[in-house]
């Protein structure tokens, strides 16, 4: 079979919209990421057009589109829809086909998904109605400390201490960090503590077994998340290529299946 069949997965997250094109060999042809913004309709159309342009393809060559993520139902041009739980599971299992626990840390929600050795979802947990264990927590801290998001990881890696935050709530954590910096603690230690706090919120969601696959935007830009988690869980931490795109990639894998079923 030639590699002429192309499908798209679009993941409309709370912070970023991600789109990918794969071919019938499940190879990544192109990808696109942008802030979701206020209009999902406009953003999703942009994500569609850009990913097609980047792949040097024509719209007519796209055989199926699957939308996922919190805004999936606003993607009116999608052919079908799947939840981000299933898409992250699908995408992560593609790279690590074994019994795993997937932890996806998104902009405003975090999912822990337990897979069996065949890649079936055994159970999953989402964070409660609180963003304390998500990317939003880190974004808020960065904003309050006036440090660019892309500098956080480098700073945190400089820290040699381990001083956990006492506060659970994002607002109170920001106050605590500012107070502790005023009292003489190092900025890098406090940033590492903030990452540690996100990990604590995730660990308390559910029992985490087997090796862990980390996906989502936070791990894509902050390797320290994997380091802290490894220390806490004492287990293998697996990070797929393009962790931020795994939801969209999983959606594209579903799109390929849908197309193949349709064309049979």
């Amino acid at each position: 079979m030639t590699n002429k069949i192309f499908v798209i997965g679009i993941d409309v997250g709370t912070s970023y919209i991600k789109s990918v094109i794969i071919n019938n060999n499940k190879e990544l042809i192109s990808s696109f990421i942008k802030r979701t913004g206020t209009s999902i309709e406009i953003s999703s159309k942009t994500a569609l057009e850009e990913v097609i342009n980047k792949g040097s393809l024509k719209k007519s060559s796209i055989k199926h589109i699957v939308a996922t993520g919190y805004g999936k139902n606003k993607v009116t041009f999608a052919d079908s829809y799947k939840t981000e739980i299933s898409c992250h599971a699908k995408g992560a299992y593609y790279y690590f086909p074994k019994k795993n626990t997937i932890i996806d840390i998104g902009g405003q929600d975090t999912k822990v998904i337990k897979l069996d050795k065949e890649g079936k979802i055994l159970r999953f947990k989402m964070n409660r109605k609180c963003a304390a264990g998500t990317g939003a927590f880190i974004e808020e801290i960065a904003y309050r400390l006036d440090i660019p998001l892309n500098e956080l990881n480098t700073l945190a890696l400089k820290s040699t201490s381990n001083t956990p935050l006492a506060s659970f709530c994002t607002v109170f954590a920001k106050t605590e960090i500012l107070t502790r910096i005023k009292e003489g603690e190092k900025v890098e230690d406090m940033i590492k503590s903030a990452f540690g706090s996100v990990i604590k919120r995730i660990i308390e969601m559910t029992k985490i077994e087997d090796s862990v696959v980390l996906t989502g935007g936070l791990i894509a830009h902050n390797s320290i998340i994997g380091d802290i988690l490894k220390k806490e869980l004492n287990t293998d931490i697996l990070i797929p290529p393009h962790p931020q795109l795994i939801g969209a990639f999983g959606a594209a894998l579903f799109a390929l299946e849908k197309y193949e079923v349709k064309s049979q």
Binding site: I85, S86, K129
Partner: protein, 408 residues
């Protein structure tokens, strides 16, 4: 249409309208006394003494389903009732403070809730009902009496029954004085007989859901349980459930499901989310999932009622309730229900302000899944306070749960 409409609903509307108008009339005249009663309180004793019986929990559920509750809760918070406690209580007190009621929305000629002459509780469901009724007793300057039931009961013993039936008998003298009617055991037996009949019919209604496809959903149950809650012990309730049962039997005979294309059968454990009944009903139906049964609707089945032994059998029936039992009993019960209704998945509603009717906080879902192998999903929400609910997150969780079931 994703969920088939029950034709008996028209009759239900009339039955409930008559009930509230009778209460309103009693409240505005001196012909009959009005008693407020907790929803699984000793309503039969009150009816035998000719009280018109009002159930504040039913009123608060109406505040929830009419989506008035969330706006009213802060007024009760402001006078010292925490947002962390029962949102039935806080919504209801908030409504009282703001002088509003969903009854006026439903029946414009009813201007307010009926004024109580006495308040009667049973702590079998929770201690909050006592605090709730105490507040109103003070407001209206009327007596509050009740029954204290032990909690986390494993086996219901003779000692439990004696302890509770004695408290029930002790209520009679106080209530006779308020109603100015002499207690007549024959009348109590007659009321109890009707309550028993209502309970049996309600059980048959709910058990029609064992059929595939199920002729009714949990969401239908939360609406049609009205007479079993507020009119048990009356002919109206018995008559209504005969009509409803006939319609559901007809659906079963003709293989008509409440949800088109029923593919997955779910069980709802915990309180309803009153302000989102339609939302969830439509969401599940759109996913070809029918929530066929629930502990909540089953809670108005009182199989132990026996008119030949009224006080002891009432004590037994009101103490055998799921909510007052031990976790060991609850787990066995849920296992039985999962098998009886051929359940594919269990939804646990973790209601933020209702710890007594939330069974997902001490590892029960995990233990159950290990034993029966049926997957479950925990939804964080609340019975009345919609601030405790994230619609988007719940929707994603439910959709993902169905996708999980589709894999099997």
């Amino acid at each position: 249409m994703l969920r088939k409409k029950i034709q008996a609903s028209k009759k239900l509307t009339q039955v409930m309208s008559d009930y509230y108008h009778e209460l309103d009339h009693a409240s505005n005249s001196s012909e009959k006394k009005v008693a407020w009663c907790s929803s699984v309180g000793p309503a039969e004793i009150l009816r035998s003494l000719d009280f018109k019986v009002f159930f504040p929990e039913n009123h608060s559920a109406m505040l929830g389903s009419s989506r008035m509750a969330t706006e009213l809760i802060p007024y009760a918070n402001a006078i010292g009732y925490s947002p962390e406690i029962c949102s039935y209580l806080t919504a209801d007190i908030g409504a009282y403070l703001k002088k509003v009621t969903p009854l006026t929305k439903a029946y414009p000629d009813i201007k307010s809730i009926p004024k109580p002459d006495v308040l009667v509780f049973n702590t079998n469901q929770c201690r909050e009902v006592q605090d709730w009724f105490d507040w109103y007793a003070n407001e209206y300057n009327v007596p509050v009496v009740g029954i204290s039931t032990p909690r986390t009961i494993g086996e219901v013993t003779k000692e439990h029954i004696t302890f509770i039936s004695q408290q029930m008998e002790n209520l009679v003298e106080v209530l006779e004085k308020i109603s100015k009617i002499s207690f007549d055991i024959k009348k109590l037996k007659a009321v109890l007989s009707l309550s028993r009949e209502c309970s049996e019919l309600w059980k048959k209604v709910l058990n029609t859901a064992t059929n595939k496809p199920s002729p009714l959903t949990f969401f239908d149950g939360t609406i049609h349980m009205g007479p079993a809650v507020v009119l048990r012990g009356t002919n109206q309730a018995v008559d209504y459930y005969k009509t409803l049962l006939a319609e559901l039997k007809d659906r079963v005979k003709n293989h008509i499901g409440a949800v088109e294309n029923e593919k997955f059968r779910l069980y709802w454990e915990g309180m309803p989310i009153w302000g989102r009944l339609r939302h969830y009903s439509e969401l599940f139906a759109s996913l070809n999932a029918c929530v066929v049964a629930s502990t909540y609707c089953n809670s108005w089945i009182f199989s132990a009622f026996d008119e030949t032994n009224p006080f002891n059998s009432m004590a037994k029936a009101y103490t055998k309730l799921f909510i007052v039992r031990s976790d060991e009993y609850k787990e066995k019960y849920l296992r039985k229900m999962a098998e009886f209704f051929s359940i594919d998945g269990i939804i646990f509603h973790d209601a933020k302000t209702c710890p007594h009717n939330t069974n997902s906080r001490y590892g029960m879902p995990q233990r159950l899944e290990q034993v029966i192998g049926i997957p479950n999903l925990i939804i964080n929400g609340d019975l009345n306070d919609l601030r405790c609910l994230s619609d988007e997150q719940s929707r994603t969780s439910i959709e993902a749960f169905i996708e999980q079931l589709e894999q099997s």
